[in-house]
């Protein structure tokens, strides 16, 4: 399978848009090589601003540019965008409903050797509580590109969670990307695996393994964490009666938390969560870390078996 990092989907989309729309401006905080916004800087230097190691100012300056009619893409590592500058994101950007786009790269344990300080595992939690904000967690390079293009068309703030590591490309140019609408990647009737980011691929692998055991698992790619596709989530709960969530992120307040909140309001069914559980990351190689934190297809299979046992017990089977 071809692999490419989602951060490149982001920066290539910026290049594409930059060529046709003078209002696209890109900001970075001394990480333009890592985030790959340097592509934009080289092509459109007059519309690129490197604010240095100053993420709170980065967020506010992006806000000011948006107020002058620009469409700023403020870019840094995900932990700094969502953590260091959280209150600027909240009060300057979201409360004022400014047209600021935030690209947070190097999310998740797959950031690898840099270790816990750089592996953002909390941004879904931190961003999805902010009114007016749209939150995208693309599953591959192609989707990251589409999410970035879509972000520019949305009027209001958008957060895009991106990764450093090359990950499998599992969607195609034809896959429809509609903000706020999850994608059923694989049909299934016994349970639904709802995943985001790199875990969509793991979920698809898990579904194949489950099929071999006679279990039919539906796989949903939930690329938008806010607004949440509550209609689809309820439909999956009703139709399959069990849910496994899978995220390369903290389950508390993350995808697992979001799905749970949604289904207790609509159609409660057993839920198992695959994700990081109240832990910080660690240094290591990306694949090794996925295994270490139990974020592999095999972990999803185990969670599926557990959730099915709960579902059957509930139904008295």
């Amino acid at each position: 399978m071809e692999k490419k990092a989602t951060r490149y989907g982001y920066s290539e989309a910026l290049l594409e848009m930059g060529a046709v729309d003078q209002n696209i401006v890109v900001l970075d905080a001394d990480l333009s090589r890592s985030t790959s916004t340097e592509l934009f800087m080289k092509k459109f230097p007059e519309r690129f601003f490197n604010l240095g190691v100053a993420e709170q100012n980065l967020m506010g300056v992006a806000g000011g540019l948006s107020l002058m009619g620009k469409i700023p893409f403020a870019t840094t590592y995900s932990i700094f965008a969502s953590g260091r500058a959280w209150e600027q994101l909240r009060t300057t950007v979201c409360y004022s409903n400014l047209n600021v786009k935030i690209g947070g790269s190097h999310a998740g344990v797959m950031t690898g050797p840099d270790g816990a300080s750089h592996q953002a595992l909390e941004e879904i939690t931190l961003t999805r509580v902010l009114p007016n904000l749209t939150v995208f967690v693309p599953c591959d390079y192609i989707e990251a590109k589409k999410a970035t293009l879509a972000a520019a068309k949305i009027k209001g703030p958008v957060y895009i969670r991106l990764g450093r590591e090359a990950i499998p490309i599992i969607t195609t140019a034809d896959t429809v990307f509609e903000p706020g609408r999850g994608i059923v990647m694989r049909p299934g009737t016994d349970l639904t695996i709802i995943a985001c980011g790199v875990m969509v691929n793991e979920a698809l692998q898990a579904a194949v393994a489950l099929q071999e055991r006679g279990i039919s698992a539906r796989v949903v790619n939930l690329h938008t964490l806010k607004p949440l596709d509550e209609t689809l989530i309820e439909k999956c709960a009703r139709e399959t009666g069990a849910i496994v969530t899978a995220e390369e992120h903290e389950i508390y307040g993350g995808l697992g938390g979001a799905i749970s909140e949604a289904i207790v309001k609509s159609w409660p069914v057993p839920v198992e969560m695959v994700g990081v559980k109240d832990q910080f990351g660690e240094s290591g190689q990306p694949e090794e870390l996925l295994r270490h934190f139990n974020l592999k297809d095999t972990d999803i299979v185990a969670a599926a078996e557990k959730v099915l046992a709960r579902k059957n017990k509930k139904q008295g089977i």
């Binding site: 240095g52 506010g60 300056v61 000011g64 002058m68 700023p72 009060t91 300057t92 400014l98």
Partner: protein, 269 residues
């Protein structure tokens, strides 16, 4: 407006401030009163704006970074004609567009929501960059408190404005020497203020923030300055214009009682 008219207008602004804070039963009179002359001069003699066309593209921009001084901003907006002066007494009431700290949601003339200190100057820097990208003559103004400049983000913004040589940006510090818990110098000394801004690449002016001649001339000097942003350090008196509030830390963030409000309003009428 000439200086005599500005003086009269500033009295009215101060009157409005006391009136609305008294009606609300809470709010921040001290820093609103200390910056009343600075903002009166800005709104009535300097700023290019069209109160009846609040989103006029070529307007100058004003950011109230010290958002707790919303009353002085609301008074200036109302007195300029953005909304009826009678509306001022709805300050801090449920459903009013006059939120305790400025919100751009629902109140034209407020460019961006503030209230958390230290954030406004960054926004002003972004506005200045945006104006420059479009070759606009727009000028950007940002008012900060002296205590507020203890925030780290202020210095991130200061550095970036100096770096980008934003001569369309004019910062104003309401240097009233007080913050909530006491004297700025005692709580966390920020001196030497002018040297700090100069070191960050700013053209720095020190004025008497209650002298209209000096205020207007500093705004003009800022406009004439090229290749550098300007910071006007305005020496002021917190609570200025209301005798019992002047230079008293306890009037930072409380409303006067009915009796004291009457006394204050009498002094201001």
């Amino acid at each position: 407006m000439d200086i005599e008219q500005l003086k009269t207008k500033a009295r009215k602004i101060r009157y409005d401030i006391i009136k609305m804070i008294a009606a609300a039963g809470s709010g921040h009179p001290g820093g609103s009163l200390s910056s009343a002359d600075l903002l009166t001069a800005l709104y009535f003699s300097k700023l290019k704006h069209r109160p009846r066309e609040p989103f006029w593209a070529d307007r100058d921009r004003f950011v109230l970074s010290k958002g707790h001084c919303a009353p002085v901003l609301y008074a200036c907006l109302a007195e300029s004609g953005y909304f009826p002066v009678e509306k001022l007494i709805t300050l801090r009431q449920l459903g009013s567009c006059l939120q305790g700290h400025p919100s751009c949601r629902g109140l034209d003339g407020v460019e961006v929501s503030t209230g958390s200190l230290g954030m406004g100057l960054s926004v002003a820097v972004g506005m200045a960059l945006g104006a420059r990208l479009d070759n606009k003559k727009t000028r950007i103004y940002c008012l900060m408190g002296d205590g507020e400049t203890q925030e780290g983000q202020i210095w991130e913004a200061a550095m970036s404005a100096g770096h980008y040589k934003l001569d369309n940006l004019c910062g104003i510090i309401d240097s009233n020497k007080l913050q909530i818990d006491g004297r700025v110098q005692q709580i966390m000394n920020i001196a030497p203020v002018a040297d700090k801004w100069r070191a960050f690449g700013w053209n720095t002016l020190e004025i008497d923030g209650h002298d209209f001649k000096q205020i207007l001339s500093s705004y003009d000097q800022a406009e004439k300055t090229t290749g550098q942003p300007t910071m006007i350090i305005a020496n002021t008196v917190k609570g200025k214009g209301v005798s019992f509030m002047e230079d008293r830390e306890e009037w930072h963030g409380k409303a006067p009682s009915k009796d004291l409000a009457e006394k204050a309003l009498k002094e201001l009428s």
